[in-house]
Symmetry: C2
Subunit: 283 residues, 2 copies
């Protein structure tokens, strides 16, 4: 039976009790509207040794810009609860906004290198909100390990950097992207897509896969030039490209040489009002 | 016997072991060169219920500006060790700079309201360094309670705000200023003062006490005007005033009305190259 906890102090008590019993606590931070990507994170937490798993479900207002989709972000708590139950989550941490932000925040956690590029350019306050709320979630759940999705590759790299720089005693695990059968990376925001947009959005994963194949089999050799190829395909599919970049997978900073290996291609592209992200690593 | 620990991971292990034994862990963060003010913080940690007390001794480079006294800040580890031993500290956490900062920090903790005024004006990166290193120390010592000195009133208020905003499961205790017999607030930096400067620096505590007496016995009634009186006395004593302010003791923001009560007078003033701070509350 998955227990539902709303307050920070109750979650702290729960976590400390688990530890007193010698259990390893795992945290899976989510914004809810769970899909198979999220569920794989819960499974990963168990597989990586968590005896007690908390899934947080919180649509965090401080990581949404004023013109973003905070209000319309999809929510379905009852469905989420059933899925958490099925995947053996011990606790759902489902705070209200007032539980997490009883007063206006004046103390922020901010990463200032990895967060500058990619999504950080078009979403200037996003990662400050993410690192701050994840710090709050870490201090609430006091986990031994926490699982994040590779779908949000920049976020995962920022969280790892945060844990390194601030000495959180937490092991960060990054779990692979889960895709629909046709290749679309799973995202709660896929729900926004019309049938037509959904079809055109397949260009994200397809263009990434084609770039990966071309570089890995040697048909083409320049990762930087490949970004232009991807960009053209996205534009041709009716997408409005935010960025397509070739990154060092460790530092998440842009590669300087087109022939550098390994490389992570990361992109953001909008169809209609729906902005999607995806990424793929080339070895 | 006080145990000396140098690495973050060893301190985390020590703290988790204390908790497994059901002990309450207390942390006293210091920059070393301990005086009776620091020792009162250790005593307070015990008095407030800490069964296992860690004293951190770390002159934190990230809270010093480029033209400040990081290099000449006084250090005397062996003396500190004896004092910690005498006051029953269980652990001294004495990391090297490389233990705390193995790589350049790109993720900072920054308070953006209380930190703007007072010392934050003349020391723009100071409090960012303080909140970041205290977060690191909290995540290293994992304390149940931590004790700070009221001498650094602005710092104590910022740390309380940080704990509130970031949900650290830590009780923050602020311990009263300890003064020399003649009134000078104890500070490791008092060592910098020449005999003459030391004498003139008594004006800090004397002018604060005179303001407190005048307002409490009704001789004078305007706290804002009292700031000018203090400023004049400091200047007359040969001090170079950085600030003298009347603050709301809760918010640490400047009071808007001269008749507001209670009020905290806080000041910073330099004699020669030595910048000193002091504060006093008027009820």
């Amino acid at each position: 039976m998955t227990q539902i906890i709303h307050s920070v102090s109750d979650l702290q008590k729960w976590s400390m009790e688990q530890k007193r019993q010698g259990k390893t606590v795992g945290l899976v931070p989510t914004m809810g509207f769970l899909h198979e990507g999220h569920l794989s994170l819960i499974d990963t937490a168990h597989a990586q040794g968590a005896d007690a798993v908390a899934v947080s479900i919180f649509v965090n207002p401080t990581q949404f810009g004023p013109n973003e989709d905070f209000d319309r972000y999809p929510r379905d708590f009852e469905h989420d609860r059933i899925l958490c139950e099925q995947h053996g989550a011990d606790v759902i941490f489902a705070p209200e906004v007032n539980d997490m932000y009883p007063a206006a925040v004046t103390c922020w956690v901010q990463e200032e290198e990895i967060s500058k590029g990619l999504c950080g350019k078009t979403r200037p306050i996003h990662f400050r909100g993410v690192t701050t709320v994840v710090t709050k979630l870490f201090n609430a759940a006091l986990p031994d390990l926490a699982v994040f999705g590779q779908k949000d590759a920049q976020q995962a790299a920022i969280i790892k950097r945060m844990v390194r720089d601030l000495n959180f005693p937490i092991r960060i695990i990054v779990s692979p992207i889960v895709r629909e059968a046709d290749g679309l990376a799973m995202s709660s925001r896929n729900k926004y897509l019309s049938a037509d947009e959904r079809q055109r959005a397949l260009t994200l994963s397809r263009s990434l896969r084609e770039a990966k194949e071309a570089l890995e089999n040697g048909t083409r050799t320049d990762a930087l030039a490949e970004c232009d190829v991807i960009r053209q395909k996205l534009t041709a599919s009716g997408g409005v490209v935010d960025y397509v970049e070739a990154l060092d997978p460790e530092t998440m900073l842009p590669v300087t040489s087109g022939s550098q290996r390994p490389v992570l291609f990361a992109l953001a592209c909008a169809y209609g009002t729906t902005r999607l992200i995806d990424n793929m690593k080339v070895d």
